[in-house]
């Protein structure tokens, strides 16, 4: 009796030890496959970001990891109006760039999803190609367009529209907005296109069968269903632009200093790493807020997902 139960138990453990093919992963294989990604993600991403947060709470004594434990850096950020101005300016510039890229990209994505036909793959390739070219060169291109003796001024004088070149283009926040919007334009199209392309065609047919006119069916069916893509597009444009320091340096002039510029100078000329780390933590908190707002909005529209 006892030995029978033992055998049955043995049988069941044998059966349990021979699971479905999917679960049959050897520990060595699992370890080897998880190692490279694990090292990069935990060491280069999480540990490095942890260092930034740690450093943000240290005082600057010129050493690598600072000294003591203090919230002084954050007090400075919160009380000095300079940082409020620059943060607000970064948010406004990144917000305008996001708005401009998403609004201009939407019709392109719409065309790709519903009208492009056989040209779709070619067009998709053409709008994503600039994404793979040098960001520095794309920004540089705007510098030669907007410069005092640059392309735009000389073209206007050549055509007789103006007599004198104007300084009004370069070194303005507007130049930063235009340049960034151009540099990040390809980012916005793809998420919106994917969202539009996955709308079930039966939904559109149902809307038109039920008598909805094209505009109504766009406003009530297509637009709400594409909102997750719009939010994703807004996020992938907003995040890199809010921390950018290259474009303000290249075409912005002193009136367009952004928060990324300040962080960069703390790790360069100003040489106050703990304070730069504190600024970085603030930027990450701002981005976290934006992500949470986008998540909330996504949930409101996310009936499909």
């Amino acid at each position: 009796m006892g030995s029978f139960a033992k055998r049955a138990m043995n049988m069941s453990t044998v059966v349990a030890a021979r699971p479905l093919p999917e679960n049959r992963i050897s520990p060595v294989f699992r370890f080897a496959m998880l190692l490279p990604g694990g090292l990069v993600t935990f060491f280069l991403i999480l540990f490095a970001l942890g260092l930034v947060v740690f450093l943000a709470f240290r005082g600057n004594d010129g050493s690598l990891l600072g000294v003591g434990l203090t919230v002084e850096n954050f007090v400075t950020v919160a009380t000095d109006p300079l940082y409020w101005t620059v943060t607000l300016r970064s948010l406004v510039i990144a917000g305008l760039v996001t708005l401009a890229t998403v609004v201009t990209a939407y019709p392109v994505a719409y065309y790709l999803a519903f009208h492009a036909g056989r040209r779709r793959n070619l067009l998709l390739f053409l709008v994503t190609l600039p994404f793979w070219t040098s960001y520095l060169l794309r920004v540089f291109a705007w510098k030669i367009v907007l410069a005092y003796n640059g392309v735009l001024n000389s073209a206007f004088i050549e055509t007789g529209l103006w007599k004198e070149p104007t300084l009004a283009f370069l070194n303005t926040p507007a130049a930063v907005v235009v340049t960034l919007a151009h540099a990040y334009a390809p980012f916005a199209i793809l998420p919106i296109y994917v969202a539009l392309d996955t709308i079930p065609k039966s939904l559109l047919e149902a809307a038109s069968d039920l008598g909805a006119r094209p505009f109504t069916s766009f406003r009530r069916v297509v637009l709400p269903n594409s909102m997750p893509g719009v939010l994703a597009a807004a996020l992938v444009v907003f995040v890199p632009t809010v921390g950018d320091y290259v474009t303000p340096a290249m075409v912005g002039g002193p009136a367009s200093t952004m928060i990324g510029t300040l962080i960069q100078s703390q790790f360069g000329k100003a040489n106050d790493w703990p304070f730069g780390a504190a600024l970085s933590v603030c930027v990450m908190l701002v981005i976290l807020c934006v992500v949470l707002v986008a998540r909330g909005a996504d949930r409101r529209f996310g009936s499909r997902t």
């Binding site: 999917e22 053409l126 070219t133 060169l137 794309r138 000389s154 290249m250 962080i263 930027v283």
Partner: protein, 272 residues
Amino acid sequence: MSGRADINAGGGWLGLYVLGYLVFLYLPVLLIPLFSFNNSIQAAFPLQGFTLDWYRTLYGNPALSGALANSLVIGVISASGATLCGITVSYMDLYGRSPLAATISAIARLPILIPGVIVGISLLILVNLIGLGPSRVSIVLGHILVALPTTVVVMRSRFAAIPKTIREAALDLGASDWTTFRRVMLPLSAPAVLSAFMLSFLISFDEFIVVFFLAGTEPTLPLYIWSQLRFPRSLPTVMALGTVILTVSFIIAGTAEILRHRGLGAARRNPA
């Protein structure tokens, strides 16, 4: 397809808009090749006549060729690293069935939500802490990180497009995990592997924001360009160099795109 015909009406204006959008996208960039052939130090109209002088100045410039060699070496090594990570992370995310694999995959795509300047300074602190300091090795680490989301996304969509039954058949026939991965899944996704490698090479080759913090005494090509931008006299040379870089980037990105589509198409046509 028939449902599409209804909304097709009115696509003409939209088509024009898309055309205008493409012009806006490409016109500023195409000015760089245009003025690189212009016989004037100023990038301004009217054009002064055709010249190849600016391209000649690219030859026999030791600082430039040093930066180019650096960029190529760093690009190949970091693209290899990023592709390896992209393959393993996405494979384990899809088939590893463990929370750890899913977590790693999620974190691997996190750099999309961190501005480049913060990636740069966090790695700067890290490499100083472990004693590497700003150096070529540090740049490689940084570029693996920057390219990782791209390689994970490319490889993940490729692995997901391979019918599940193929992997199950291999395992049922007694192939080990390693054999299944190396002899079945990897060959089936070879075009995507190549595409991920090329795209991450391009990312590294063109990257400026992160490399700015991590470079020691040996600059990469974008850093060399940045250093030249201070001198108005060298702008035409920068434009000639930029034209070469843009051409190479277009060719590599185009090839990567074709490979990615060819791979996916082949998998859908012969699912067995």
